[in-house]
Symmetry: C5
Subunit: 395 residues, 5 copies
């Protein structure tokens, strides 16, 4: 296709003047006035009004300002390179030596476009005062640029290890399929002037032409750099829940177990509140895993408080009430299981001596055994919950 | 009605050129200049100036940015499809082969509209530079689009299970009932290009024509997705108040009861403060249920603190002062009631033995009994309060 | 006054066409061009240039967005209905059947107005592209609307039970008293389209004409709906200070008194910080009562901490040091006074027995008595302080 | 100077029509068209192009929106009264009875000005569509108004008792010293329409003409109303540090000393964090005194924690290890010094008895004495630090 | 180069009128109309259209509003001085005595520029209504000014001791290398009107011409004033971690060790959360040192909690279970090493006596020794971590 070659050749900063004769100011002025006079800005520049105008376009992405998960908005900067053939603006360049000229004013026809999924509303983008360049074969190139805010609902289910897919839709406004035909010059988003942003990595782009609509869809895939969140959110939470388990190491005689457990519970609840402020208030497509993880941690911590309180009841139960049979059975079974599991450990005399005189099991022994069993149980639960989270965000 | 058919047929992206002859650029230009010359932009385009202009309109909703409960503002994007017959712009399409044309400039009359309940003030919406399309039968179609902020006072009484009803009012500005007549094309808000938002679900739309005003009211009903708030607000509060009840399980000998109760109280007060920031500072039409629930929880927690302190007084009262008769009676009645209620439980010897030697009731027994009674009472109150909340938001 | 009747009759949505003959588009166009030609947009439309132009105006208030106490800004939406007689724009309506027409363009004179106390600066309001309507007797009606931010210094001394008085000043800009005369059509702010806001209640409006200035002052009185603040600020504070008093019920043997008192102190200090963020940083005309109340509560709470510490010193003082005479006197007087006050109470033997053997007063008795006296004192102070606050905001 | 009198006489609301004949609309229109025709908007209106244009100006300040210490921005509203002689716009007012007229359009020359230290960038202020008034002697008066954001680096070293000096620089843009000469009409900022703000008091204004630049500098001195900050920041901090000292009154037997000290330390650290958010992140010209005070308080509080811990070590040291000689000396000297200082106090037997049997000094005595000495020392340090702060901000 | 001299001479406020004759208004008007007529605003003003236009430019920086690390945005105010020779605008100044004139309107050609790395999108900067000055030799000077937001990704790895390098890229839009040639007048950013900002110090500027692009890059190096952050962030953290170490001084008998350690841990976690809000959520080029320091501190503090709990287990272990051999060995080695290290200390009898009767080592001794060893270890770790931080940010 001969035309496409023209467009590529025309890319702004590569095109140079090939050797040609000198053109004086007055000659140029006369030529300019002649070629632009009598243009109707409302009519598509085709000699036969039944034919389509082929509009070639590509998008230069220069910067991604921000992806706002909470509002579902992607802000990016860039400009479009839009070119078409104005059949009423052709001349013989060899005759007068003029190969191309630029014009600022609204004196020739221009397609009007809208950003189809703009966050700021459906408004046209033809108010730009960009310079347009006209070549002797009628190719007009227009490079309108702006800051585009586009709608992009965040899928935060794997936050902060998430990847977002956003699209910039551009379509001619007020023209039908039979009047304007949009053709992507490249099948990717051009990044020649792209400045890397430090929060999101642009990992993939593509351009799709609308099936039954004169529309182009510039798709971008963004991957979050997760390290910051790992260091400031994930690891502190893991640390907190580990500290929560420490309560079972704390001797009951210290009198600080409940205070300790409640304090850690509050700390985790505060983290839940803080992290929920950075997430969109949405349950679609799915609640984010980190929210569920945090809530699970809060529940585990609350359950720990309950266990610590119950265990404390056994410790403080006076020995004038005899230990019930059920409890004695629980202690014996628990001790045996632990002994089996730890059979590789040196069977120290302490455990044996306790086992022999079963009748002497006291309430404090019940508390101690309850503590150990619950501690192991909670540790296992914490491990499973966090493993599930890792599996969920990683796979 | 023949006219309405035209409007529907005209919808932007469906209308194609039917087979017709070719029209050259110069012919089209001549036709354009001829048909648009001598138009007075200030006069309604009716041949008899006493007749009304029928304006058909419908609203395309493309995105709901945000519903701000605190400010009472709904931000949405979309565009209006407005069409009317310009009686001075008709031609014989079979004669010259031109069926329709577009124009950008302000060279023909256009109705001026305002958003009646705009949040940003009463300003007209006719500054848009949208392309207009004129058909040979005089039908002019205009599709102005924007980001609309409309006033919508939130009814947060059932937050976060609330449903909001908002309306977009559009009315011609500066024209009377006898000059312009607005007719809704559809009786719903068009959602062909609608992008789902993840915070609110659009469950119902309708269009109502103003009774004695040339006004259209586009109503939308939005339902909040509640899961996020359930996970981050409701469930943590419930957990907190359950943890609050745990204080009655904590043995008084631990010396941590008051600290525990106060810490939980503070945590609930902090939740009250955080959640109140997300609610509009309003008591109309009703204070939100969640506010009342939280305040009730704060009160319950404060009451728990009081009970824990009083119970501690009994524990620490020296037995040199004999237990008063009233207290002895309270303990006995309480024990009997509990025994009756738990009659299905095995009557264990502990309770009987205590009951027999009533004279030996000590202050610690009073404290223990007081604890049990208050614990049950608070648990029941918590249950009732939360059940009332669920009934309130669900029904 | 004949003119005023015209204005009222002209109000937008009431005026209808009275029976008259049909007017064709071309006739109307010719009339329009004839009547508007040769108008000088810079000259006041009076036949004798020494005479004044009477400008009648009223203000339609449609919505109050927000009253920002901290910035001292009232945001409201509405539009002005401004009408005057253009003496160069009169015609005989019976002759040509045209009674009125509308015009959008800037082709006739318009008074330029500014909002005298605009928050956003002194800028004119004549850039609006509102439609103007001209009647055959020369009455021109112009309805410019906008979102107005006006300066309104908040008087938060009774917050959250406060009432604010704000004024919207409008005055012609660039014209003297002898050139333009502003006349209020109504002596109140028109609220036909007013949408109630849920934070502030509009309780009173009035219009005052400037004494020696061509200025109108539209005054509005706003009353805050206080329930939300009562539930989220006032009641929690009251609860907190009551919980603070509970410390005197806490037995000293519990070893949690100081921790309890300090925790409550911190909670009140946090409330002070939070509530101060919602108040303007001003001490004019007066520091707000709620600030003073909160600071008083902080002081009371700090004083409570001091008392608890001192009382603890008596408890922990070893009895090898004899109780000083002063202290013994204090205990005796305190006991007697309490006995007198509670004389209606059954004089139980406990008190008597203690009173008899005065010599046996121990340091713990001193602590207990000190506690009781201070507890009563603090309770009374709290009661008085809060009563004073209620009197202050209510009266 | 005759000219200056004109300007003053011309001030907007004072100037009235003096008795003169009637002027018809058509006469005025003809005069207007005649006098304004052929004006070149780009040429300074002087008959000899080598002469300067004297521009008289003064500034009406209407409101101070906000002084933002953190961003270093002063937002104020007001308008300039700018007047000059247009030598091409003079007429004989006695001849035609016209003394002055107003014009809105850009049909005569106007000086272009910029705000030299605008926060929002270097942009011209001649886009305003203000009405201009022309008098028969050629004096043109122009009153452009706006909301001005000016750069004003805050000096917060005495916060919240600070006084800020800000300047509004206005200078003609694109004209040299030899073309335009700016002359201040008054040597102060005009406050006829000034609305008092409740956060800052405007205590002094002045106008300075640039030495070697055609520039005017409108200086304003603002004083902060400190009461709000005293009540919400200074007094709570003082209270906190006093409460911190109370720890020395708390008996060591209570077992709450360390918890108390750490809690108070955290509270002060939180205050440090909160107050630092309201201060500009600057150390120029000096770190603010309140920051230093707060940091000093944090250090004192941390030091208190250390002392409390050390003192606790002495209390808990078992008496089987004899008290070292150094410690015994410390206790004796300390007791003596305290005795000397308190010689006016009744020498009660307790101290004497302890002094006599020096050998019986126990570790608890060492702890007690250490406590007393450190308590006094910390109190003195707190007193000095706060006294230094008061001296610093007051002087 | 003769031309450059012209530009420098032309700098706004230095150029004065040299002695010349008077020029009347009408003469000037006639000259102006003559010289500006027939200019085509779309054509570059060169007599031979194949030649380049040399555009000399420099940038006046007036103020740096803000550097936003989180968004990666630098906001600055300033204006460009852009000058070129308009070959169609030359005249003989000695003939008519006119040396220069100014013009506001868009009646001559102007190069269009864009800010290549603008944060707000790719938009042209030729909408400014700045006055242009034309000299008799054809030199046109244009000084467009604005507030520029430029993209500048922050490198916060050394925060708050960081230095940022930002560039302002300006390039002609729509013109090729062969049409416009940009030449920097100075090789630095002009700061004649620069107002110092108190947060950032501008330490170095430079101007670089694009290699193969007609582009200028104005580079600025900014250094943060760190004192504020040292006082409000770094020092409080250091204090906190020192206070954390104090826990090892706290005697285990106090019963407050675990509470103390947990409270300090929470305080450090809160600081982590606060400081992370002021940092960009990025891990590129590197996670900031302060984040790593804070996380290390949190880990150290959590580890301290673990140690305190373990040490408490030894203290509370009943002596009926004999101390294991491993532990006895640990205690002995630890004592010996400490003795060696502290050999300069007086070998007091306490240590010796304990060493001799090794058999009598109790669990409390194990706890004490464990405490001492861990305390020393943690202190060393804290020291190393903070030393590494200082080395990292300083070097």
């Amino acid at each position: 296709m001969k035309y496409k070659g023209c467009v590529v050749k025309l890319i702004l900063l590569i095109s140079f003047f090939e050797g040609s004769n000198s053109v004086s100011y007055t000659d140029f002025d006369a030529f300019f006035k002649n070629i632009t006079s009598g243009k109707n800005i409302n009519l598509r520049p085709v000699l036969d009004h039944k034919s389509k105008v082929d509009v070639h376009m590509f998008f230069h992405l220069t910067y991604i300002q921000e992806f706002d998960e909470v509002e579902g908005k992607l802000s990016l900067s860039g400009y479009f390179n839009i070119s078409w053939i104005d059949q009423t603006l052709t001349w013989n360049s060899t005759e007068n030596g003029i190969e191309q000229f630029t014009l600022e004013e609204h004196i020739i026809w221009k397609p009007s476009f809208i950003i189809g999924n703009s966050y700021d509303g459906v408004t046209e983008k033809n108010q730009d005062h960009s310079v347009m360049r006209v070549q002797s074969n009628g190719v007009v190139t227009w490079t309108p640029g702006d800051n585009y805010n586009i709608v992009c609902n965040a899928d935060v289910s794997r936050y902060p290890f998430d990847t977002q897919s956003c699209s910039l839709l551009i379509l001619p406004w007020g023209y039908t399929f039979g009047e304007i035909n949009v053709i992507p010059t490249y099948d990717y988003v051009v990044q020649w002037w792209f400045t890397e942003q430090h929060t999101w990595e642009l990992i993939e782009t593509s351009v799709v032409k609308g099936e039954n609509l004169p529309m182009l869809e510039f798709s971008m895939k963004l991957k979050r750099y997760p390290m910051f969140y790992v260091l400031n959110l994930i690891l502190p939470i893991c640390l907190m829940i580990v500290i929560n388990i420490f309560v079972f190491l704390l001797p009951p005689e210290s009198g600080e177990r409940v205070g300790y457990a409640v304090t850690v519970l509050l700390a985790i609840a505060v983290f839940l509140t803080i992290s929920s402020e950075n997430l969109p208030a949405t349950s679609s497509p799915r609640i984010s895993s980190i929210s569920i993880l945090l809530f699970a941690d809060v529940c585990i911590s609350a359950f720990t408080v309950l266990i610590v309180i119950l265990s404390l009841r056994y410790y403080h139960r006076k020995d004038e009430y005899p230990v019930t049979k059920f409890m004695r059975g629980f202690v014996n079974i628990s001790r045996k299981v632990r002994c089996e599991v730890c059979c590789f450990r040196k069977k120290n005399e302490k455990y044996y001596s306790e086992k022999e005189n079963e009748e002497q099991i006291k309430w404090t022994d019940v508390g101690k055994e309850f503590d150990i069993v619950c501690g192991i149980f909670i540790t296992v639960v914490v491990f499973i919950v966090h493993a599930l989270y890792i599996i969920d965000v990683a796979v």
